[in-house]
Symmetry: C2
Subunit: 200 residues, 2 copies
């Protein structure tokens, strides 16, 4: 059968999306080809408009409208503007904002230390972080990274880099998630919850 | 936080892909925004090129290059060109071609009878099927639809429509799939396998 190069190229591009394997990409491509409501063109236009209209905030790394840069979170009044919350990615910023639990500013590293994936300190936005601490009069850096090995390594690295700065360094608490039972918690979570116990 | 309309639109378009829920679409959109290898534009271009370069064969419904229409399967020599295999979609044509088990021509209905989804006989390519039977001297229509209720209804409908034509109507056999055991087969599969028993 004739090779359908445009279809192959579409499958290849879709396969590069996170969590999309070859079979899923093939199914998507066929659905797009079969779609009679112009989805192919709608999706293409949405991509082109996002590519033009969305940017990373040059200050915190958050996603923002290209026309509003630095982003609102960087320029709007924030009650705790002297606290800088360091996260891995813009998705984390959205998540924390949704939680309503933080009123300071953000800084996305755009990754974490990962020798396995070839991500070193120079690939993270650490110089920018140090610059901001000075420029913005930051009193506390709150590290909001996950609980895996790479996040721990990144947190340790940041602690070291920040040790000679006039800034408090903290990390979000680890413990039992809301609504969870001791009985069903894993050992590491329990150990960290006990280690982080607080007086009541 | 500022509403990122281009990002919302991208999530909405991605959500329309088959099997992609809102959360997955959000994760995809963020990955696209974060991607530093131009995936957003690569995918947009692949979509636009597929939209331009891929079409449905005006004869059989198969996907084909827009420049090669009718498709190769319709015009190339086929050993059993007098057998017309009726399927639901172009994906089925690909599947059967890959199996190597069929050497005739194809006809995709682009759906199946489904009162629930509002798909009636007029939405299927049945008129085109009748025209092809006459034009191409088809001797046998092989119905290659699935085993669900809607496929059965579609097969029955086709049988009725074709009953006053000079054409043999057959349907692919149902039975145990390759490599399966009686012990683990479901009742319907077993019943159909017994019903379709053949002399050996
Ligand atoms: Zn910002
Ligand atoms: Zn064709």
């Amino acid at each position: 059968m004739n090779h359908l190069i445009p279809l192959d190229n579409l499958v290849a591009a879709l396969s590069r999306l996170p969590g999309i394997g070859r079979r899923t990409a093939e199914r998507m491509a066929m659905a797009l080809v079969q779609d009679d409501k112009g989805l192919m063109r709608i999706l293409a236009n949405a991509l082109l408009e996002a590519d033009d209209g969305i940017a990373n905030c040059e200050r915190c790394g958050n996603v923002t409208l290209s026309a509003i840069n630095p982003c609102e979170l960087c320029t709007r009044h924030r009650k705790d503007a002297q606290i800088l919350c360091v996260v891995e990615s813009p998705a984390d910023i959205m998540k924390i904002e949704e939680s309503g639990g933080f009123q300071g500013r953000y800084h996305a590293l755009m990754g974490r230390l990962s020798p396995m994936h070839g991500t070193g300190a120079a690939d993270l936005r650490v110089d920018r972080l140090l610059g901001r601490i000075a420029d913005e009069g930051i009193a506390e850096v709150l590290i909001a990274l996950g609980t895996d090995v790479e996040s721990d390594a990144t947190a340790s690295y940041l602690k070291e880099v920040l040790s000679n700065r006039e800034v408090k360094v903290s990390r979000i608490a680890f413990g039992l998630p809301a609504g969870s039972a001791i009985e069903y918690s894993d050992a590491t979570t329990l150990a960290r919850a006990i280690q982080g116990r607080q007086a009541i």
